[in-house]
């Protein structure tokens, strides 16, 4: 055991050095199996299970998260207000839907909530979940607890089960019960079972927890519906979700606007110069009416024309909620 520990220490020291030379974080290097301190190795029938990462399908977002969200861990989703509950829950459920899509034999998802949050933010509606995320009613279980302590207990018991695909725990505000210890217990159980626990925190501000990844979710306008005749004016198409990586050991901080495609059941990046399928419309408008609809701010060139010129990095638009360039990109962008 002692030799093992020493060997592991050496490996970690080396990894840190390599990371320093390469100019990245050591967490972003490919992890050797069983050596990561924070990851547990569970063998079932003698085969080590690799839990890996849950890729969302949005390339920029996945790249920023170093491959995706950890599957065997506690992940936090924050919503600033109760009325954002639809967006926050939608994001977590879309991820759960991705898990179900990847699973060979789907096992249920358990959604634990307090009576308060279900009353304030609405009860999950199975028809909508099936239509939007492909979660069939038989793959869904709810647990409603009158008190936060009961909800935490249910979630803890459920987190240790391999019979569930994912556990979603939804709480409101910043209760005292949900401290470092409580989240650490949830995280440990999720690691042991190899199943994710999504902690949805509505109307809460960020506080220290044991979750390795924290995402702050805010709503973003939906795209227009695509028809054969082009985008339909005034319609509400694919929902937009703005996600800020609040905390992650492996990820770079940044804000991303994702789009959920309910037909393909995958996430898309909404790129800086507007969504890909919105671009023809912009061009169309410009050819039809060359005068800019919104007056440009003085002393700046038209960002749309600049985007078409060949640049290493497209300039950042302050108004668009697109993703920020990562840290090493910033100086380059300033020079441009």
């Amino acid at each position: 055991m002692a030799i093992n520990a020493v060997a592991r220490d050496t490996v970690f020291a080396l990894r840190r050095q390599i990371a320093k030379i390469e100019g990245t974080l050591s967490e972003r290097l490919e992890a050797p199996a069983g050596l990561d301190a924070d990851r547990m190795l569970v063998r079932r029938s003698g085969v080590a299970e690799s839990h890996g990462l849950l890729a969302t399908g949005a390339q920029h977002f996945d790249a920023a998260l170093n491959g995706g969200l950890p599957k065997a861990a506690l992940t936090e989703f924050y919503g600033a207000e109760t009325r954002d509950a639809g967006t926050v829950a939608g994001f977590a459920l879309a991820l759960a839907g991705l898990l179900l899509k990847a699973a060979k034999t789907p096992t249920p998802i358990l959604w634990v909530g307090t009576t308060e949050i279900f009353r304030e933010a609405g009860f999950p509606y199975a028809r909508g979940l099936q239509a939007n995320f492909g979660i069939a009613p038989q793959d869904l279980l709810y647990a409603e607890a009158p008190k936060i302590s009961d909800a935490l207990w249910i979630a803890e018991e459920a987190a240790g089960l391999t019979a569930l695909s994912a556990v979603i725990l939804e709480l409101r505000g910043n209760p005292e019960r949900l401290d470092l210890t409580a989240t650490r217990r949830l995280h440990r159980r999720a690691q042991m079972a190899g199943r994710p626990v999504f902690l949805l925190r509505q109307a809460a501000f960020a506080e220290p927890t044991a979750a390795p990844v924290r995402l702050v979710v805010t709503p973003a306008p939906a795209t227009l519906r695509n028809t054969l005749a082009g985008p339909l004016d005034g319609s509400i198409g694919r929902p937009g979700i703005a996600v800020t990586v609040g905390k992650s050991r492996a990820a770079q901080p940044g804000q991303f606007t994702l789009e959920w495609n309910p037909d393909e059941r995958t996430f898309l990046d909404r790129t800086r110069s507007g969504a890909t399928h919105q671009q023809p419309r912009d061009i169309q408008n410009r050819t039809k009416d060359p005068v800019a609809v919104v007056s440009l701010s003085s002393g700046r060139t038209d960002p749309a024309t600049a985007a078409r010129s060949v640049l290493a990095f497209t300039p950042r638009q302050s108004s668009s909620p697109g993703d920020q360039p990562s840290r090493p990109q910033r100086p380059a962008h300033r020079r441009a």
Partner: protein, 489 residues
Amino acid sequence: MISHRDRNAQRIAALDERAEALPLKPGMGIADARAMHPTIDIVEADPQADLRLLDGLADWCDRYTPLVALDGTDGLFLDITGCTHLFGGEHAMLDEILARFFHQGFDVRAGIASTAGAAWAAARFRGRCIIELGEEEALLGPLPLAALRLEPAIRSSLESVGLRTVGAVLAAPRAPLVRRFGAALLLRIDQALGRQDEAVSPRLPIAPLSVERHLAEPVILIDDIERLVFLLATALKTDLERRGEGARAVALLLFRVDGMVTRLVVGTSRSIREPRLILKLFQEKLTAIAEDFDAGYGFDLVRLAILTTAPFDMHQADLADTTEDSEEDLALFADRIRARLGEGAVLKPVAVESHLPERAVAVIPYWQDAPQRISPPKKPAGPRGLPSAVPFQPERPIRLFQAPEPVEVPASEIPDGPPRQFRWRRALYRVAKVEGPERIAAEWWRKEEPTRDYFRIEDTDGRRYWLYRQGLYDASKPPPRWFMHGVFA
């Protein structure tokens, strides 16, 4: 002294011995009694509390026999057939019951007889006696008519013709009695004499299997109780195995020394027989009631009863024993939560065929099977055995408010159109994009409900809502109201 209100006057309902000696009588006016004896202490009658007390006593009597029935407001029937040898014969059992009630502070009269009617008469008019089979007539003969459990009207009419004792009625010819006083009289006589069976309906259904343990030394600690539960469950397991069944509902009865009975019931979503699992469920139950759990001076009788059984499906483990029976894990998990937090703690949605969104999904407890009535019919398989694709899937929100919340809409551009802005939960929202309306009407057999026009609305911040207008604009009616029904992702 206890008073009750009878025909608009406070009258005496019951008295203790000292008041009886004064002399006061039941049925006397309270005002008269006060005038005669100003010092009397009068308590208002509380029939509900009396019933609760009787229920508690009946619970306690469960220790002697599972067949305990309430008799009116002041009596209990115990069917002790086949139970007497456990307590050393009828005499010993009667003595023990009376002694225990006496220690609890109750003045109880009891009688044992082979028919319910005779036992009733013996308890009320003789007291502490055992009537052997065939002695009923001798017992009832000299007793007044009240011993037959007759209606007051029949009793008074019998008395008016001079039949004042049961013996006199028994001696009279039967046919004229039936003609004059009805069949009820003869029924009561036959029941008392054992010529006709009388069913005593027990308060609780009889458990198919039950095992109990009398303790010489009362137990107080929860750990000891849990250990006892395990022992009792182990004893039950062989019985269950012989029957090829498992338990679906298990009750734990804890009889406290001072007469209180704690009854804990756990239900399971699939049949179980492992003592370990039964113990786990009761551990949750005991944790849940930890604050209200009062062991007092301890429990001297612990009984584990299986209330309902179901066939137990066996499955064979493979050699390595690595198969993960995930459904079993899940069932046990759900049962534990149910034991701790109650029946509605774990829920599952079931799709229902209905137009109305809130009716289209029923949320039922996890262990219930979906009723056949509400489960949608199987979709016909399309070509190549694939289920046919749904032609049109309407947009539905992911969260639905339990009751649609009223929304203030100041004005919409056109009367039947979407709102420009609305006020919900005291906050103002500006509408950026709208889709709709989607008109949803109730099924034709629910005519009275007005139609709803649903709009998908995105506000300027990008949140998406599901609003509807109930009813239509009509000059003669009040303007329709708007409601918030759900939110989208």
